[in-house]
């Protein structure tokens, strides 16, 4: 059995505007796992319905923003009979520490799951500051 089956479904109300404004698309906070290895910090986020064309990732100073657009679920000639999840966009921001290199961030999205690899700087080498006499 699933360790926590509901944790596999996207977070609903927690996302903020889900269901509160019927005329505006809902915005969800994608569930994410974050782990750190020796040379990188990896973020894995569940964003069902998102692919590389509908995903935008921006980095501004130390804020990494993930925005995913999902087309509304409209089926021509059908009427909705039962609903357990709402369809909407995804938005989440991550604050990067100074340990993360701004270059070399890799984002891969597959089967509605985003994987962000944020490389860490190598071990800091002590730099000798030359001292000048007067």
């Amino acid at each position: 059995m699933a360790q926590d089956p509901k944790a596999m479904a996207k977070s609903d109300v927690r996302g903020g505007t889900a269901g509160k404004h019927k005329d505006r698309p809902a915005v969800f906070t994608p569930r994410a796992d974050i782990f750190e290895t020796g040379d990188a910090i990896v973020v894995i986020a569940d964003m069902p319905g998102v692919n590389k064309n509908s995903l935008e990732i921006t980095l501004e100073e130390n804020i990494l923003t993930v925005d995913g657009r999902v087309e509304p679920e409209l089926l021509d000639g059908f009427t909705q009979a039962h609903r357990e999840f709402k369809v909407g966009n995804y938005h989440r921001t991550f604050t990067l520490s100074d340990a993360v290199s701004r270059d070399g961030i890799v984002a891969v999205v597959k089967d509605g799951v985003l994987r962000l690899t944020l490389p860490k700087f190598g071990p800091t080498r002590a730099r000798k500051i030359p001292v000048q006499g007067e």
Binding site: M1, A2, Q3, D4, P5, K6, A7, M8, A9, K10, S11, D12, V13, R14, R31, A32, D33, I34, F35, E36, T37, G38, I41, I44, D46, M47, P48, G49, V50, N51, E73, L75, G77, F78, T79, Q80, A81, H82, R83, E84, F85, D111, G112, V113
Partner: protein, 144 residues
């Protein structure tokens, strides 16, 4: 229950739908989340059948098993936990993993040989056609 008047034809799903839609929010958890089975499903219907939609992030087409028993569609699969390299550690863990089985019972007889399932970007769309002999048949009404 709100009185709907005569503007819409009576829909037997509707009342049930409303209760089911609100139900999860009556028992919200710490984060105010809806408590559902995995995967959550949306069902759309018309006279010819139904479309069952579900969110299965991380599940590729080959990892999802869809089967039909009588009037019930069953989805099976599993999501494996990430294998962390030696020495790695989690900062945050919000995603779930494990095996799941979800069944959806439809209010009509299914044309089993014509059912079609498609997985795309972590969402599944199952077209479930209604058996031809089970579809509503329009009877022409004549004046006596």
């Amino acid at each position: 229950m709100v009185w709907r008047g005569y503007t819409h034809p009576w829909d037997p799903w509707e009342a049930l739908n409303e209760v089911e839609e609100e139900m999860p929010y009556l028992f919200v958890g710490t984060y105010g989340e809806a408590q559902h089975e995995f995967p959550p499903v949306n069902v759309w219907t018309n006279d010819e059948g139904a479309m069952v939609l579900a969110e299965v992030p991380g599940i590729a087409a080959g990892q999802l098993e869809v089967s039909v028993i009588n009037d019930t569609v069953i989805m099976k699969g599993s999501r494996l936990p990430e294998e962390l390299p030696e020495g790695a550690h989690y900062h945050r863990r919000e995603r779930g993993f494990g095996r799941f089985t979800r069944s959806v019972r439809l209010p009509f007889r299914i044309a089993q040989e014509r059912i079609e399932a498609r997985v795309r970007d972590g969402t599944v769309r199952i077209h479930v056609p209604r058996a031809t002999e089970d579809r509503p048949h329009r009877i022409s009404v004549h004046e006596a």
